[in-house]
Symmetry: C2
Subunit: 135 residues, 2 copies
């Protein structure tokens, strides 16, 4: 059901400092920052040969990652995003298997302009899973 | 300097239950369990089209992930592993950039039989980074 690992998201308290570290210390290729007010984050993608790391900084009052950074002030690993070809079929299969979908259960549009959903971390051993529909 | 994302490691309290969930709910392809006593873990690899997820369960008294699971009893995202072609050159570059290498600073042999090193999460915004030499 799952295809590629689209990205691994890391929450950071200071995006500019994280970008600088990934560029200079790790020699990585980093995208320009992209504000996603509806998700409450500013994102940057770090490109690797086979997948991406997404660095997330809180944006606005209702950021979805504010609570995570309160618990993990240094930052940390936030979620993993898998690609699916049909997000509604994947959602229905997972709900049938007892997994909970966060929010109202309907996909939103994510950082790549594709529909995305999040699954409850309690149903996947503490890991927050994002599904992204990529045709 | 970094090439592919080799794997993303998730610590789980019950490997058999996690394997069952990744197989049945997510429809993923999962390897046989592999005991790595010198790392204090039993590992299973979940294969995706472009990379792998490594599920880790503690093994023995001195497991390196026991403390993590005490803090995160449900499990959670533990580390991310990047491939490098020359692990000693990568280590020396990173040390020069102020990053700390865990342990005695010398590579050990990891789950794939290749030399691996871990970098201090405080130097990478709370994310534990493994480097694996893949020629």
């Amino acid at each position: 059901m799952l295809g590629r690992i689209n990205h691994i998201a890391l929450a950071v308290p200071d995006l500019a400092a994280a970008v600088e570290r990934y560029r200079s210390s790790l020699g990585a290729t980093v995208s320009e920052p992209q504000a996603l007010p509806e998700h409450g984050v500013t994102v940057v993608f770090v490109q690797f040969d086979n997948s991406k790391v997404e660095l997330l900084e809180p944006l606005g009052e209702k950021s979805t990652i504010a609570g995570f950074l309160t618990k993990n002030p240094d930052g940390g690993m936030h979620h993993i995003c898998y690609e699916v070809t049909d997000i509604l079929a994947a959602r229905d299969h997972l709900k049938g298997a007892g997994a909970r979908v966060l929010g109202d259960g309907n996909p939103k549009i994510g950082a790549h302009g594709n529909p995305v959903l999040f699954l409850h971390p309690k149903d996947f051993f503490g890991t927050l899973i994002e599904l992204e529909e990529v045709k």
